[in-house]
Amino acid sequence: MAAALPLGWRHFEPLDTLGAAGRDFPRGRISEVIGARSSGRTRVLHALLAASTGQGEFAALVDTRAAFDACSAAAAGVELSKLVWIRCSGNAEHALRAADLLIQAGGFGVVALDLAEVAPAALNRIPPTAWFRFRRALEATPTILTVIADYPLAKSCSAMTVKLPPRRAVFTGHAPFLLLRDAS
């Protein structure tokens, strides 16, 4: 059973049924999760990784900017021992190559390519053929390649694009004693 998403995200039903049918984040395809800072990209990523590792699958995260927070991921239910974490020191080219190698190796339930916060100049240098190559390599595999980015990158190669709208901070209490609760 895939991990349920935290309260406030119930409207985002597809993720809840990720593992059961594989129809929401389609297996063997590229999916994109795009949005601005604090739009919930990381929440979706954690939910996806939690659902995959919770089923006993292995997952891989290619973390271009080394932004991954293991603490909040563990709190979201990600089994860290089933997650291969690759940090690319901001080098998008290395990130793409690493993702390519992981897809070729096979056996992963999810390969997440985190390109969020990467400079547009570096992203613009990614040739469109790279996405076609990924799409071809993923065919007939059970792997979900998820790209986390500020704006769409894989374009027509992506089978599903999740666009996340900006969210508003929810503080409780009275100034100056405010407590950040969530974003909605």
């Binding site: 699958e57 603490c71 991921a73 979201a76 056996g107 992963f108 901070a169 969530d182 974003a183």
Partner: protein, 373 residues
């Protein structure tokens, strides 16, 4: 037949009879013996019997030389006190209550009733008392070194011929490992005196995989000079045994994954590939989560910031502060150079994002640690 010598120099005496000795303890050695060798034993405190355990019991508890003919074990050992058996306080108390004083008393008890009352352990002790417990000898075999060495007349300058030589070594060494039902746990390659250590994530005898790992290592870090001396050592261990489940999702093949990660390590660096682990600490970002946490993304390294009551500036972004929560003070590891002492704030900025900023109290500087996402 098995012989057992009991005495202070049991090991050296036993060594003069057989190369395959089982040392039961510091003073007791057991080995296999032929009838021709029996004469030499008569001057030593020893025992000869058809089973290992009977020989051990007799040598430890009977004086001088004892020969137990096959089928006579129960009669010879029967005179021994029950304390001659391996100690088991609970069962010995029961034996005491039953009035069992000697091994012959225990040997006479009906097997089924004994098993019903004392279980498997009781049955084991009765078989020992009857001298009927048969087990193979477990000789001490010295650990083999799986190593190949070449001192070359003409140093190798190119990678290909070096790999050819290493492949030959690997074929020989893995064949030796296979003959002993072992696999390699680590590979130590020494080129011109410089050792490279490769710990394998799983035991293997796959020459192709080991050769690929060496190849990746040589690609990443080529030898500094032409290679004149090559030494290859495989560290042996028990082979991997996996029970696959019908309903367990298939994971990456370990051999393939190790090669893939080897390639990625060459690309992004050794320290940037692994799996995340949380520590038993309160250090921000390293400790285990307590309760529910908002998903977070780090800026690594943290962005230095300038802050006023209404605005925040960094080299990546700036904006007006809409709401701010905090401070949350935390400090720790004050006895270490990498101590932390800071005040954290949660900040909603006019760009629509939620940031975690902190005032590092040691240099008194502001940083943006990351963004809630």
């Amino acid at each position: 037949m098995f012989a057992c010598i009991h005495g202070p120099d049991a090991a050296s005496l036993a060594d003069s009879f057989s190369p395959f000795i089982e040392m039961v303890d510091q003073q007791t050695a057991v080995f296999s013996i032929t009838s021709r060798q029996l004469g030499r034993l008569k001057s030593i405190r020893s025992a000869v019997a058809a089973t290992v355990e009977a020989a051990i019991l007799a040598a430890r508890n009977l004086p001088g030389y004892t020969f137990i003919a096959p089928g006579e074990e129960a009669r010879v050992l029967g005179a021994l006190l029950i304390d001659a058996l391996p100690p088991d306080p609970e069962l010995f108390e029961t034996f005491d209550l039953w009035g069992i004083k000697s091994l012959s008393d225990l040997a006479r008890l009906p097997e089924n009733d004994l098993a019903a009352r004392l279980g498997e352990r009781g049955l084991f002790l009765q078989r020992l008392a009857r001298g009927a417990l048969s087990r193979p000898l477990r000789p001490l075999i010295p650990a083999s070194v799986y190593e190949e060495f070449a001192d070359l007349e003409h140093p190798i300058k190119l990678r290909e011929p070096l790999l050819f030589l290493i492949a030959r070594f690997l074929h020989d060494l893995t064949a030796r490992l296979k003959s002993q039902s072992l696999a390699a746990a680590a590979l130590y390659l020494t080129l011109n005196g410089n050792q490279r250590r490769h710990s394998l994530p799983f035991p293997t005898r796959d020459v192709k995989l080991l050769l690929k790992l060496v190849e990746h290592s040589l690609e990443r870090q080529p030898p500094e000079a032409p290679v004149a001396k090559v030494r290859l050592e495989l560290i042996p261990t028990q082979p991997r045994r996996i029970q696959h489940g019908l309903f367990t999702p298939a994971g990456p093949e370990p051999e393939k994954l190790e090669l893939t990660l080897g390639k990625i390590r060459g690309l992004v660096g050794e320290k940037n590939v692994g799996y995340p682990e949380l520590f038993d600490t309160h250090r921000p970002g390293s400790g285990r989560p307590i309760g529910e946490l908002l998903p977070f993304r780090y800026f690594r390294p943290p962005l230095e910031a300038r802050i006023t009551a209404t605005r925040l500036w960094t080299r990546m972004f700036q904006g007006q502060i809409l709401q701010i929560g905090g401070p949350w003070r935390s400090s720790g590891d004050w006895w270490n150079p990498d101590q932390w002492n800071r005040d954290e704030y949660d900040l909603a900025l006019s760009d629509g994002a939620l940031y975690r900023i902190y005032l590092d109290r040691a240099p008194d500087k502001w940083f943006v640690e990351g963004v809630y996402d």
